[in-house]
């Protein structure tokens, strides 16, 4: 039912990556990636212990997102299982040098959960998921601090802005769906969502 979630053809992927490689590797967040990198490499070689290590590190992220989207513990557990099994089966899909595994897992988890929520086949455009993220997600303590900070920002955000973000992210609604649900024009929804993301980004740039 779930198609392999990771990019099959590395070609265009790598070509793009060559451009940004040096830039990516020089980013400060790359230091936090080192332990992830080691574990992913070991996992690629078939080390089940390495998978367990990554699970211990990121299962709470994957589970929390899935649970928020689906609202059902059983279903969230299934998504958790699915995401890590796919990582195990196709570790080459994630290049640890390109981004944060934790953030990447969060994105995959959210997308899988939305697909499940909407009973649809996974969108195969998931592959080119490259992202750079400011907080280091590898360490749990850092994550909790970051989570609290983000919750704070969301709390102070104007309600229409926050709810537009949540509808798009946690309910997987398209901008036209949000527009018709709220009765607001498309342009307004677009601006709100962008503004919301900017607000979150700013909270971590200072």
């Amino acid at each position: 039912m779930f198609s392999p979630l990771l990019l099959q053809s590395g070609e265009s992927w790598c070509a793009y990556f060559q451009q940004g490689r040096d830039f990516a590797l020089s980013s400060p967040e790359r230091q936090g990636v080192a332990p992830d990198l080691a574990a992913v490499v070991a996992m690629k070689a078939g080390d089940q212990g390495a998978l367990a290590e990554l699970y211990d590190r990121y299962s709470s992220v994957v589970y929390a997102v899935a649970l928020r989207v689906l609202g059902d513990a059983g279903a969230a557990e299934d998504v958790l299982q699915e995401v890590f099994l796919q990582l195990w089966r196709n570790p080459a899909g994630f290049d640890a040098a390109r981004g944060s595994l934790g953030a990447w897992l969060a994105v995959i988890s959210r997308n899988r959960a939305i697909d499940f929520l909407r009973r649809r086949r996974p969108d195969t455009d998931i592959e080119d998921v490259v992202l750079s993220v400011a907080p280091d997600l590898a360490a749990e303590a850092d994550r909790s601090r970051a989570a609290e900070k983000i919750r704070g920002v969301l709390g102070t955000m104007p309600v229409p802005q926050r709810s537009a973000l949540e509808m798009a992210y946690f309910e997987g609604m398209s901008h036209s769906e949000i527009a018709s649900k709220t009765g607001e024009p498309l342009g307004t929804i677009k601006t709100r969502i962008r503004a919301g993301l900017m607000a979150l980004r700013k909270a971590f740039q200072t």
């Binding site: 039912m1 779930f2 198609s3 392999p4 990771l6 590395g10 793009y16 940004g20 690629k44 070689a45 078939g46 089940q48 998978l51 299962s59 709470s60 992220v61 994957v62 589970y63 929390a64 997102v65 928020r68 513990a73 279903a75 557990e77 299934d78 958790l80 299982q81 699915e82 099994l85 195990w88 089966r89 196709n90 570790p91 080459a92 953030a103 969060a106 994105v107 988890s109 499940f116 009973r119 490259v130 992202l131 993220v133 400011a134 994550r143 970051a146 989570a147 983000i150 798009a168 992210y169 609604m173 398209s174 036209s176 949000i178 601006t191 969502i193 962008r194 993301l197 979150l200 980004r201």
Partner: protein, 264 residues
């Protein structure tokens, strides 16, 4: 760093998977060539990961860890080389049955419809066969009835041929088929009878008492027929005879015998 302003809003939506249709296609086309927008998209996706972080709190149940490790241990072992090359494995069947149920139900319905269709086809075919047999039988029955009716139809003309210069005599002909217990009897020139009386036909068996084979009254011309009266099965007929009885018929013949004939 922000990309082109015109795509700025769309990028944010795209990062959230909330952009669809023509706008999405346009943006993807633009992204294929614009490094700046790609970088911005990367940033925006990072921002969405922050949204994911906001959910942090609930922990997965303990058993989930073991469940994963069990599943991994059960997997057909891939060679290290294959894994490093990123050969994708088969699609996983997860415990989550809900989407699977939909497909399974659809498959079941399709299979059932196919089997119903097949059964329907076979039933129709059998019906056609039965119909054709029935129509053939009906035809045969029709023919047999016509034959019988011809013999007894009042409009039928009976001709009795006798040697020249011989006055007509009472005459009877019986055609008996033992294996079917079937009897056709025709009489002509029979004298008419008083109203409460009738002629009775008798089958004379090889041994034993005569067997009743139907009663008849001659018409205005003196003709009469008896066709397939009820008879015991397989009687050997030595002769046939006629007596005069009461209209209802008798179980044993009343003397005298007025006509008799043995087999030809």
């Amino acid at each position: 760093m922000s990309g082109h302003e015109q795509f700025a809003d769309d990028l944010a939506l795209y990062a959230l998977d909330a952009l669809q249709g023509q706008e999405r296609a346009n943006l993807e086309q633009h992204l294929a060539t614009c490094a700046a927008c790609k970088r911005e998209l990367e940033q925006l996706r990072g921002d969405t990961a922050l949204l994911a972080l906001s959910t942090l709190g609930p922990k997965p149940p303990q058993r989930a860890r073991q469940r994963l490790l069990d599943a991994v241990a059960k997997e057909a072992p891939m060679t290290s080389r294959a894994r490093l090359q990123g050969v994708p494995n088969h699609e996983v069947r997860t415990r989550s049955w809900w989407p699977w149920l939909g497909w399974a139900a659809t498959a079941a319905v399709v299979l059932f419809a196919v089997s119903l269709g097949k059964e329907n086809y076979e039933l129709k075919r059998d019906l056609r066969l039965v119909s054709s047999i029935l129509s053939q039988r009906t035809q045969d029955l029709e023919q047999a009835r016509n034959l019988a009716n011809s013999l007894t139809d009042p409009d039928s003309q009976h001709f009795t041929l006798v040697a020249m210069k011989t006055p007509p005599q009472p005459q009877g002909k019986a055609i008996y088929l033992r294996k079917r217990s079937s009897l056709i009897f025709m009489a002509n020139n029979m004298p008419s009878l008083p109203s409460q009386k009738a002629y009775e036909l008798w089958l004379i068996p090889m041994e034993g008492a005569p067997i009743p084979a139907g009663t008849f009254k001659p018409d205005a011309h003196g003709s009469a027929t008896v066709i397939n009266p009820p008879l015991p099965r397989g009687m050997h007929a030595k002769a046939f005879a006629i007596t005069v009885e009461n209209e209802a018929g008798a179980a044993t013949p009343t003397m005298p015998i007025v006509m008799m004939g043995t087999g030809e």
